[in-house]
């Protein structure tokens, strides 16, 4: 192995995972410095590493590549390092090594997936991500978080198995574990697609996200919001760019969660639904597959990671200081938490794609790509979803948390480290919105796109402001659906209730069948046969007991067969 590479280009995944596992060895201020230094070290080592493959290993007859750096993987690598740093700042005061280690290993898993050069390496880091992220939910240490974590890991184990099956068949078919364009054709590709789709939260495989993320710890949710879905966006973009079903799945994915987000009472669950909605835009972009669409997808993933983390941080800060997170318990917090309120509104403006905020410069690329390909219905759906996401993430989240009805809560701003983390994410979101060139420069394809044209700014402003007018009129007229202490059924019903119902059905039907068989054959038929042969008239019976016994044995044998099956 080349030694200069060893020091220059240590795979960021290793820095995070090995470095993260060593966190408990440090104490006090040194520990904080160490945790802050790791993501920076990974980021700068990434900047220094030239494009190309490094860290080759041989397994069986296959060549495994731990670190494949090209334009597509680099963008995701950068943003994963940046957001880890911000999330670590946000979590700096958490006195729980479990959460710190889990966060670092999880981020390392996502970076491992990003830079994996083959499907085996991909799978390894994929599972590291699943396991380590579970601890961020478990670490909340409540009963509901324990069961949510259990459901979360079960779903991801199932998704991982689909992926593994797909990978094995793919390698069997093609003879190589190459991790590059696959395309939708043949069993292997569909299995791999399904495995990715679970992590990308494509409906109806999405409910794990809105089930688990709101149950995670305050700081854990920030990590969770960044890595699982966006690494799935990356692998989809690499393997299934231009797969037509993704266009329509993605468009539906932008629309369906909106309705749930309107009804939802738990604010972090509203954000989870809007996360699914935003990833829908990316899936749609991958499906369209043109350079403009892929650029849009990657840019949107980059911006989305920042503002979604910002939203989870500001609402998490509210949960941290008030202990409450439901719309029905909150309101009027702007009075004593103006900074957190301001950061939340920057996040809200960014996710709503207001001009001068980051979402505007990235989402518009995807929608333009749909327009460019003359996908009328998709274009309309994406515009509809843009108005919808503004309505719930842009207005509802800040309105019911910081304004609306005064809850009477008078709490202080969160600790300084949390404010600094939010300030960084908010600053970056505005910076990218005002000056998108640095982001455009690192996208996979050359960018020929101008976000700030008069027509585009005007169209977007009208869409948003008149959407806000609808919200205003409905609230003022009292027609807006009230926030209720209630939950809403989603497709997780099938494994949460449906599973139990299935068990009850199987239990009662099969065990019922057993009871009937026992009644008819063992007690009824066998007994009456035995009685018949014992009491049979001499002329009918051959006169000796052994025949009766033989018949009884035969009857029991048959009944036994019935019972066994």
């Amino acid at each position: 192995m080349d030694h200069s590479l060893l020091f220059k280009g240590i795979p960021p995944a290793l820095i995070f995972i090995v470095g993260g596992l060593l966190i408990p060895a440090f104490k006090g201020k040194l520990k904080l410095a160490y945790m802050l230094a790791l993501p920076l070290y990974a980021f700068f080592s990434l900047l220094q590493t030239p494009e190309g493959n490094s860290w080759h290993f041989s397994l069986l007859q296959y060549d495994l590549i731990l670190c494949r750096i090209d334009r597509l993987s680099l963008v995701f690598g950068y943003i994963f390092c940046i957001i880890s740093w911000i999330a670590v700042i946000f979590a700096l005061k958490v006195e729980d090594d479990l959460q710190h280690v889990a966060g670092f290993v999880y981020a390392g898993g996502a970076l491992g997936v990003t830079f994996a050069g083959d499907l085996f390496t991909l799978y390894l880091f994929w599972e590291i991500m699943a396991v380590s992220s579970t601890f961020l939910i478990l670490a909340r240490r409540t009963r509901s978080s324990q069961s949510a974590a259990f459901r979360y890991i079960m779903v991801h184990v199932a998704g991982g198995l689909l992926l593994l099956a797909g990978i094995l068949i793919y390698i069997h078919d093609t003879g190589s574990p190459r991790f590059d364009f696959i395309g939708l054709s043949g069993t292997a590709s569909y299995l791999i697609f399904l495995g990715f789709a679970v992590n990308a939260a494509i409906p109806p495989l999405h409910p794990w996200l809105q089930d688990a993320y709101p149950e995670a710890t305050v700081t854990g949710a920030v990590f969770l919001s960044a890595f699982t879905t966006k690494s799935a966006v990356y692998v989809m973009a690499r393997t299934f760019a231009g797969a037509e079903p993704l266009i329509y799945l993605g468009a539906l994915m932008t629309a369906i969660p909106i309705f749930y987000a309107v009804l939802e009472n738990d604010i972090r669950r509203v954000l989870a639904y809007s996360l699914i909605n935003q990833v829908g835009f990316m899936m749609c972009g991958i499906g369209i597959g043109t350079p403009l669409a892929i650029n849009g997808t990657v840019a949107h993933a980059f911006c989305h990671i920042l503002y979604k983390a910002l939203l989870f941080m500001s609402t998490g800060a509210v949960l941290h200081v008030t202990g409450k997170i439901r719309c029905t318990d909150l309101g009027g917090l702007y009075k004593t938490m103006p900074l957190t309120c301001l950061f939340c509104m920057v996040g809200a403006a960014s996710i709503s794609a207001f001009p001068l905020f980051s979402g505007f410069v990235s989402k518009s690329m995807i929608i333009s790509a749909a327009g460019h390909e003359k996908l009328v219905l998709v274009w309309l759906l994406l515009q509809f979803a843009s108005a919808g996401v503004f309505h719930h993430a842009g207005i509802k989240v800040p309105f019911f948390t910081f304004f609306g009805q005064d809850s009477g809560l008078r709490v202080k701003e969160p600790p300084l480290n949390m404010l600094v983390a939010m300030r960084l994410a908010a600053g970056l979101s505005i910076f990218l919105g005002v000056y998108p060139e640095p982001l455009y420069r690192i996208l996979p394809y050359p960018v020929d796109f101008i976000p700030y044209s008069g027509a585009h700014v005007m169209g977007q402003l009208q869409l948003l402001m008149f959407g806000a007018l609808a919200f205003c009129l409905l609230i003022l007229s009292g027609y807006y659906p009230p926030e209720l202490r209630a939950i809403n059924l989603d497709t997780d019903w099938f494994y949460r209730k449906g599973g139990r119902l299935f068990f009850r059905f199987v239990d009662s039907s099969l065990n019922g069948l057993n009871r009937i068989c026992e009644g008819v054959f063992v007690r009824g038929l066998a007994g009456s046969l035995a009685r018949f042969f014992q009491n049979a008239p001499p002329g009918f019976s051959i006169g000796t007991a052994p025949v009766g016994l033989g018949a009884l044995a035969a009857a029991l044998f048959i009944a036994g067969l019935f019972l066994l099956h």
Binding site: H392, F466, A468, L474
Partner: protein, 81 residues
């Protein structure tokens, strides 16, 4: 603790904000007439298309959500039972 903000406790401030908001809407509609369009679809070029689309979309979102609530709403302890 610092003095708390009470900006929106005064009804006249809320009224002022709403008036400003309606003013912005009118300005947007007027400015729209003077902007050069480069549309992918013919309807995009019409002045006020996005205004109407945004208003109708957000209203639809809420109406459909209200309808959806009838079917999916359950008690908070639904899954614990």
């Amino acid at each position: 603790m610092k003095k708390e903000l009470t900006l929106f406790d005064k009804p006249q401030n809320v009224r002022r904000l709403l008036r400003l908001f309606y003013g912005v809407l009118v300005v947007l509609l007027i400015l729209d007439l003077f902007i050069q369009k480069h549309a992918y679809f013919p309807w995009e070029g019409h002045a006020g298309f996005f205004a109407g689309f945004g208003f109708v979309s957000c209203t639809l979102v809420i109406l459909i959500a209200k309808l959806l609530r009838v079917f999916v709403k359950r008690r908070e302890d639904y899954y614990e039972k």
